[in-house]
Point group: C2
Chain length 195, copies 2
């Protein structure tokens, strides 16, 4: 079983979904920490079904094309449950921006500062969007958020990871940008004085 398989099972454990539905989910909440295109999802669904972890039935629709709705099987649920507490295999973190930071000493300070400010904004925006969802969850779901046996708690937990991640990323971008800007200003002043 692949990690993508478990990602799909994780969604199917909450509700029956079509490949198309799954593709949408992989852009949203779940997509923020595991994403996939439909070209990966459809073959993976076939594999899950072959392995007995999911089944599908065709739902005929009149105002749209028919769809295949997938449901998780007891075997699938059991496999997911076991996987969920097995220690994750350590995957390397790959962050292009941090790699760029490693070579930032070669770049023009103005361009460098601009890039980090842009990225700071991107992460601040993502953070704001997460915080909105968080406020909604806390208002709407209330006590469930303290009950780890509910899927609501699980959704909330992943959201909290997103919030911490984006907060940290934005903070770091800001620090880099400020460092570069501060140094540029000092250089500018020195130049003025020497004239």
């Amino acid at each position: 079983m692949t990690t993508l398989g478990y990602a799909i099972l994780g969604l199917l454990a909450q509700e029956a979904l079509s490949g198309y539905d799954l593709t949408q989910r992989m852009r949203g909440r779940v997509g923020n920490f595991w994403s996939a295109r439909h070209s990966q999802i459809y073959p993976e669904l076939a594999r899950l079904e072959e392995d007995g972890y999911a089944t599908h039935r065709v739902v005929e629709q009149q105002e749209r094309p028919d769809k295949k709705v997938y449901e998780i099987t007891p075997d699938g649920l059991e496999a997911l449950k076991v996987w969920a507490t097995k220690p994750p295999s350590p995957r390397p973190t790959r962050e292009e921006l941090v790699l760029k930071a490693y070579s930032i000493w070669l770049a023009e300070p103005e361009k460098a500062a601009r890039m980090f400010r842009d990225e700071e904004l991107r992460h601040e925006e993502q953070l704001a969007s997460y915080e909105e969802t968080r406020a909604w969850m806390e208002g709407e779901w209330g006590e469930d958020l303290a009950r780890p046996e509910t899927s609501r708690f699980a959704s909330y937990a992943t959201l909290r990871r997103g919030i911490i991640y984006e907060k940290g990323y934005a903070e770091w971008c800001r620090w880099v940008a400020e460092s570069v800007e501060r140094a540029s200003e000092l250089a500018g002043e020195r130049e003025k004085k020497s004239r």
Copy 2:
């Protein structure tokens, strides 16, 4: 040019290195945000040389096998400089542990808590190791850390990202573990009372 190519150029911009040296670097500092095995590095070096971004000379050694030491060319340096401030292409974040958290409501609380405590420890340890390096850098490199035109500043910047990342990750693991543990205790108490 691939991202891995720029990762290698980023290292070569600081010093001339062999493929073997690069493989070691890809496990350490740089490997914490971009990693590669030697099976990827050797072909990539050949490609960099073909494209004129790097050159190599064979260094004969008596106590070990000979090696090829690679150096970045002016073209390579220029390409790296341009790349360093181009906005990074948004790559999806893939974190298996967060995906597991999404299905944690299905799992046994004891196993779930144990896994998150284990992961918390792992990230605390990585954090401690980063903090050590940080203390060393701040003591040893002093004023350079405020000069964005130095490669030392760049190394320090990537380290700071690592520190924020690990701190946030450990914090989140702790929060999940505590939530699960708290709920288990409450459930235990309720059970005792009802007897």
